[in-house]
Symmetry: C2
Subunit: 385 residues, 2 copies
């Protein structure tokens, strides 16, 4: 336990780092570099499946490290994106002409926002901040606010009426949504996509869709097949969360072939690193996909147990989530910053203080599900905070 003076000093330095990071939280490595006396045991800011990281690292160890082939991956230019698109096509059965490969999903979002989004874009609040921050200067951002008293649930009919009334030309929807985890069923979202067919671009971000579930079989959900019918649809796929490899920067978009051709006509030729290329080769391997689906289901189970227990605590309220995290409202009178600092300094558990998130009225934090053992530490920390 640290003295209160020492805690005060750490709080001050975290606040400075937060100010440098804009609308994002400083990473654990940034924290530790500036405040080496901190002991971070669990990074519960970070929204990924750690069991999938284990699986991928095992493959990489066998294929690249033990064989000495890592050198080739790092020394030489990776193949052009055309090769990478073929692997993704093999893994997904989406034609290669509909696949745009990005240096992480964030590059797909940036390319869509800069190249195709014109006039205005409707963004749902709360949301991932890049959907409004990356808008070009001449693009108006129109906010549609989810209501706390409705558990941040999206009402499809009310949303469609809003889009018509505001003459929206482009829209972005994250499903499940970040930071609240609110989920539209496959059927609801399909009907929404159909109702938005008149927009110039409809971006559906499926970064957390591998953690959502409908039937007891926990089958994988996606709307990427719908691009065949709706040419305005752009599906954003992040590999960082599902596969636990955020440091590799791998993602792609599924969209109309004209959009992909326009993007590739004057850019994006070598935006995939050697390791991202290797990841996509592994991704296209049916044996890997089968092993992956086992750890995906294991992680969903683990997350379900975690979220169930959070709900039974008295000092926070958890909003309904089908993602791998929960949005918690703090009920014991502490500010979200104080609560976050108590978890960090007293328990080594780093969670996301949501005080900078547009559209959240109150004291909120976001907590990720990690391994079973780490989740026990997170639960104990929240309980005593």
């Amino acid at each position: 336990m640290k003295t209160s003076e020492c805690k005060q000093e750490i709080r001050r330095r975290v606040r400075d780092l937060k100010e440098e990071s804009g609308s994002h939280s400083p990473s654990v490595s940034t924290l530790l570099k500036d405040i080496p006396e901190l002991a971070v045991e669990v990074d519960a800011c970070f929204l990924s499946n750690p069991y999938a990281t284990d699986l991928f690292l095992k493959h990489m160890d066998d294929d690249l490290i033990r064989t000495g082939k890592l050198r080739e991956v790092l020394e030489f230019y990776p193949p052009q994106v055309h090769d990478v698109r073929k692997y993704i096509s093999k893994a997904t059965t989406i034609p290669a002409e509909n696949i745009f490969v990005g240096n992480g999903a964030i590059e797909v979002i940036q390319a869509l926002m800069h190249r195709f989004v014109r006039q205005n874009i409707c963004v749902i609040l709360p949301t991932f901040s890049s959907y409004y921050e990356f808008a070009s200067n001449d693009t108006e951002v129109i906010y549609y606010r989810l209501r706390k008293e409705e558990n941040f649930t999206l009402d499809v009919d009310r949303y469609l009426a809003f889009v018509r009334e505001k003459k929206v030309r482009n829209a972005a929807i994250i499903n499940p949504n970040n930071p609240d985890g609110g989920y539209l069923s496959k059927e609801q979202l399909a009907s929404l996509i159909s109702g938005l067919r008149h927009l110039d671009n409809l971006i559906i971000d499926e970064s957390f869709i591998h953690f959502a579930y409908e039937g007891v079989e926990l089958f994988q959900i996606s709307h990427e097949e719908m691009i065949r019918e709706f040419p305005n649809l752009c599906i954003v796929k992040s590999m960082s969360k599902d596969f636990g490899i955020a440091g590799i920067r791998a993602g792609y978009g599924v969209m109309n072939s004209d959009k992909v051709a326009a993007l590739l006509a004057n850019g994006y030729l070598w935006n995939v690193s050697g390791l991202a290329d290797y990841f996509f080769r592994v991704y296209a391997d049916p044996g890997f996909q089968e092993a992956y689906d086992v750890v995906r289901k294991k992680y969903i189970m683990n997350t379900l147990m975690f979220l169930t227990q959070i709900n039974s605590m008295g000092n926070v309220k958890a909003y309904p989530s089908k993602a791998n995290f929960a949005l918690l409202e703090i009920l014991n009178g502490k500010s979200s910053f104080e609560f976050t600092m108590d978890l960090l300094i007293d328990h080594g558990v780093y969670v996301r203080d949501c005080s900078d998130k547009k559209g959240l009225d109150g004291q909120f934090i976001r907590v990720a599900s990690r391994t079973f053992e780490d989740n026990l530490k997170i639960l104990a920390a929240i309980k005593s905070a």
Copy 2:
């Protein structure tokens, strides 16, 4: 030695792959995947210092692989680019506000071309094709042709007159130039930069500058300090060639702080992978820089010996180069494709067939300098081709 029928079939398949690769040559990994019976011993397409690769991999092995820290680099989000800019600033003494970090130099080129280059751009032929291919649709590309009979030397006064006459608004110059290796001295280029101060943007690509030399001390040359005096100047720095790490995708641009701020205002926040972040941390280490300068000089010496020997062969003419490669004109009546295929199929030496390079009138190949041992193989192959 392969039968002529078998050679014919390999030729046909390389030609198909070449067509898929546009104005670039297929990578060795793409070749080997499609034509597994090929045995590539030396990749002399690839323009990097292999001794620098050795040095970096040794660091990475000690820091990340033996310690088990590789997981952190791959699993978690890398820090935002602001941290990375600080490392580069430390290594170069350029203020962080003037540094734009890219996913390889190619992203810096793409960002400059899409965001700031308007009306027209003057590109010197022959050149690296992205300087005309990445131009936006509404940007006119004005070509300034170097002359074979002048050894592809740039005449500064004639070039300045051309720029005035054509009302050029933007220009790109690679120094030493790719694919011929032609070099403007530090003094000549400084006077050119001054003469082009009226342009909107002047892009100087220093991808190969670490291989150029002036005094016998082989000091490092750069024009990045000149951005203080010339706000239209943008210096492109690729780490792929100097440090032999093309697969990691690391590069940056040095430019006016207003341009950097405009780019970062709505994008480019997480475009650096965990490994690129690690590379830049190593890059900022004075001990690494000192060791790097030793292998840089060793490689320059090695390249000098290589280029000297190429000049003494009868079947090719080498144009003057201060880069780590030479442009060779084929004098024995073979086409550049035939010559390239003979080197590849009979000797396992893969060189760049330049038949698709705009502005080259004749039969040309480009040959990279590799290790001392590999260079001996390249020389033997050229001699007998």
